[in-house]
């Protein structure tokens, strides 16, 4: 029981829910517990991984289009539901600490999953691409040999850069 309380306190510390006094007290306690410190580090790593993944996915998200769609769906007339919602069954889950920790993680995963699925399932608008692809041509390596040469960049019809490699033709007797 004591252990469960300590774990709950640790979880509250991780979530920033302790009072400054409690936090200071726990910090002092933690300095002597490698096990608790290791657990905290593990949670921190998981949180960072989730934040990283969420940031990456949201960066790719077309937020304007997403909000436009949400707005359209919110303002759409509500359809009458034909099926009565079944009453939610509640059950007691033993182990308050696990429920608390995994409940927090599950919420994080669910949010990340929702963003991830939204990115995957979001229909492309005609004429647009979700990720801007690089256009044009560019020289990455060139060896002019014994000749003199210049690399130009000329604008293509769509404004994209096109590579021009101009090499002076030294050989005079060519057919």
């Amino acid at each position: 029981m004591e252990s469960a309380k300590a774990d709950e306190k640790l979880q509250m510390f991780f979530d920033g829910e302790l009072s400054p006094q409690e936090e200071a007290e726990l910090r002092r306690e933690l300095e002597g517990s490698t096990e608790n410190m290791a657990e905290l580090r593990q949670w921190e790593q998981m949180r960072e991984a989730m934040h990283g993944a969420a940031a990456e996915w949201t960066a790719k998200l077309d937020s304007d289009a997403l909000f436009a769609r949400i707005e359209a769906e919110v303002s759409a007339p509500e359809l009458p539901s034909e099926v009565e919602r079944a009453p939610v069954e509640l059950r007691v889950v033993p182990g308050g600490r696990e429920r608390r920790i995994w409940g927090g993680l599950a919420t994080g995963f669910a949010a990340a999953a929702a963003i991830f699925l939204a990115v995957l399932a979001w229909p492309e608008e005609p004429g647009t691409t979700p990720l801007q692809m690089a256009r044009g041509t560019e020289v990455v390596a060139v060896d002019f040999g014994a000749n003199a040469g210049t690399v130009f960049e000329v604008e293509g019809g769509a404004g994209q850069p096109l590579a021009v490699i101009w090499i002076d033709d030294e050989e005079m007797g060519m057919p």
Partner: protein, 159 residues
């Protein structure tokens, strides 16, 4: 926990799909077209097929007053395999698709030489997006200059 595992497997599956697509792209062939143009500074006709290639009206090409298409061979580039195009001046253009980049562009190696010689352009590596040409110009031919355009384009049919 299950949700985490499901999400992880979803991400892993998406990554595998993406990798599989990348691998497939990297080993499959892609059509390309080589445009061999004789450009001259003297007044003359511009081949109507070149009108849409607006790049040829801009520097360094804008000094040319006439342009004639000498050939327009289509070929298929396969990763790691050399494709040879004979040029009218006796040299040969060697093209090799090196790889498909993660962003979908194509890394292409080109060389222009006479058989068994390295007299003109020993090596050129270009990254090109589908449908966008790169040009190699400057070879003298019949009082003009050869302009060679290379376009990798999966939408073009080869040969």
């Amino acid at each position: 926990m299950l949700l985490g595992a499901w999400l992880y497997s979803g991400v892993a599956s998406a990554q595998q799909t993406s990798l599989a697509r990348s691998d497939r792209d990297a080993t499959s062939s892609v059509p390309a077209e080589v445009l061999v143009v004789l450009a001259k500074e003297e007044e003359g006709k511009i081949d109507p097929q070149l009108k849409k290639l607006t790049a040829l009206r801009r520097p360094p090409f804008n000094s040319f007053r006439s342009m004639k298409i000498l050939s327009k061979p289509k070929l298929t580039l396969t990763p790691g395999k050399d494709e040879i195009v004979s040029l009218p001046n006796g040299r040969r253009l060697k093209l090799t698709l090196l790889r498909v980049m993660p962003d979908g562009r194509y890394k292409v190696r080109a060389a222009i030489n006479r058989p068994n010689k390295s007299d003109y352009l020993p090596l050129l590596q270009v990254v090109a997006s589908a449908g966008d040409p790169f040009f190699v110009a400057g070879q003298s031919y019949q009082g003009g200059t050869l302009v060679v355009g290379v376009t990798v384009d999966p939408q073009k049919t080869s040969k």
